[in-house]
């Protein structure tokens, strides 16, 4: 597959990037590592006039911890560097596991965190060549009025499957965005929308600058079920982050990925553990409760009912691993 024609800009500074982005609007696509964008261009899913390369911007680089203990990861950081970063591996093991689960080592050598956070949703109908798509009626995402996967769907149900996201939401991460108008910060969980087409709230002219993880000593785990774990997108993933002890947990966030248009927080399952502590019985009850939390899932690459059963198993696995994991050392 060949790329379509486009212009290419590599701004020297963030200010220059934001100014270009502010005036060009949607005719410009932001290029991180390109491991997803370039494929979508080859498939003619997007037709920008120009690409704006942001990966080398110094303002998007770096992993640091400030005086208050907040972790900051720049959006331009490569996934390979993050997956093996000693600070992430030691203090945020679930995040390191999630980043390591993205694609293959080859892909992670090129891909950035910002690109992962802004990854478009996927579906077996749209993520095909233009010719292939042309053999069927267009769907919601390609300006038609049907869904080829869920016949009754009244909007696009394509799947959000960026692996770092559930792990970051479980850690209560925040997102730092900037445009030529100024900067804003929001919880990462609020960045995503329940819509397979416009699946995040990034405004025109805005760039993802960094992810901020608030200070907390948490145990954390990420697991992924995929056809080939070394390369494929997940059928379902689950991230968990736990504060406090097994007997008296203080906080717990369980977040499922690759099950629908956005990551899903499993409130019911977490409530059971927070009330009863981590025991064999409470883990079973929490796994059973996941079904109700999930609501409608998109069984896109899987048979009906499959993902709910899968997530049940993943909840059990994550909770058992959290129960065994040692609390990361304080600084």
């Amino acid at each position: 597959m060949q790329l379509p024609l486009f212009e290419y800009h590599r701004p020297a500074s963030l200010d220059e990037a934001l100014a270009t982005l502010g005036t060009a609007g949607s005719s410009l696509a932001v290029l991180g590592g390109g491991t997803d964008l370039l494929i979508n261009l080859k498939l003619r899913l997007e037709r920008p006039r120009a690409l704006l390369s942001v990966r080398e911007l110094p303002e998007l680089a770096g992993v640091s911890v400030d005086a208050a203990g907040t972790l900051r990861i720049g959006a331009g950081e490569r996934l390979t560097d993050l997956a093996t970063h000693p600070l992430l591996v030691a203090r945020y093991p679930g995040l390191a596991q999630a980043i390591r689960a993205v694609g293959s080592r080859h892909v992670r050598n090129m891909a950035t965190l910002g690109g992962n956070l802004c990854l478009p949703t996927r579906c077996w109908y749209t993520n095909q060549s233009e010719g292939w798509r042309g053999s069927q009626l267009p769907c919601w995402k390609t300006e038609g009025q049907v869904c080829h996967v869920i016949k009754t769907a009244s909007n696009c149900r394509a799947i959000h499957s960026a692996d770092s996201v559930p792990a970051l939401i479980a850690l209560d991460a925040r997102l730092l965005l900037r445009s030529s108008q100024g900067e804003r910060e929001l919880p990462l969980a609020d960045f995503y929308r329940d819509d397979g087409i416009e699946n995040n709230v990034l405004a025109p002219g805005e760039l993802v600058i960094a992810v901020l993880v608030p200070p907390a000593r948490l145990r954390s785990v990420f697991v992924k079920a995929a056809a080939r774990t070394g390369l494929d997108y997940g059928y379902a993933t689950l991230a968990g982050a736990l504060g406090g002890s097994n007997r008296a947990p203080k906080s717990l966030l369980l977040v499922a990925g690759s099950v629908g248009t956005m990551p899903m927080v499993l409130h019911q399952s977490a409530r059971i553990i927070l009330a009863d502590g981590l025991t064999e019985a409470s883990i079973e009850a929490a796994a059973d409760a996941a079904r109700d939390d999930l609501g409608e899932v998109t069984n896109l690459f899987t048979p009906p009912g499959y993902k709910k059963r899968l997530v049940r198993g993943l909840v059990r696995r994550v909770l058992n691993e959290l129960r065994r994991q040692k609390l990361p050392a304080a600084d």
């Binding site: 060949q2 790329l3 379509p4 024609l5 390109g34 050598n109 774990t229 070394g230």
Partner: protein
């Protein structure tokens, strides 16, 4: 469409090539530099046959890299792997242990294995699996490839020990 003259540094040789923004590193290496050892497969990041090494030695998928971003940055392709009159230990092991059938995947797998061993001369099973997962073979499967990689590691460790004992 305007082309821009860039300098590609492939296997230590400098090539002045005019590139358009939409041309991939893979296209330019094969069609302009005329080194066709690097293969064109899925062109979407999923097969690894287009693997080259970047300046930091890491495996790069040249089908997902824009040539224009590689101005003056060294790239190693399969043609740059063998020594003056001897194959690289990974190449030797692929031959000796039958890790090649049709050969379409071979350059990508060798570049993948070399990138792994350049970074970590003594990888464990998990690290080998992790690296090889991104480069596929549809003929042999990964079993013979893994045998070859393990044998290459042994040979390289033995070579390094021999060099040490000669006080080099």
């Amino acid at each position: 469409m305007t082309r821009q003259l860039i300098t590609l540094i492939v296997n230590g040789d400098r090539y002045q090539v005019p590139v358009a923004p939409h041309e991939t590193l893979l296209d330019v290496i094969r069609d302009q530099v005329a080194l066709t050892g690097t293969k064109r497969g899925c062109t979407s990041g999923a097969c690894g046959v287009c693997t080259v090494q970047g300046e930091d030695g890491r495996a790069v998928l040249s089908c997902l890299a824009l040539a224009i971003e590689w101005d003056n940055r060294p790239v190693t392709t399969i043609e740059g792997v063998a020594g003056e009159d001897e194959l690289h230990p990974v190449q030797k092991a692929f031959l000796e242990y039958g890790a090649v059938q049709c050969g379409a995947c071979t350059p990508g797998l060798i570049m993948t294995a070399k990138a792994l061993l350049d970074e970590n001369p003594d990888p464990d099973e998990e690290a080998i699996n992790e690296a090889l997962a991104g480069a596929l073979c549809r003929c042999t499967g990964h079993i013979k490839v893994k045998i070859a990689v393990r044998e290459a590691i042994k040979a390289m460790v033995a070579d390094a020990a021999a060099e040490d004992s000669h006080g080099v």
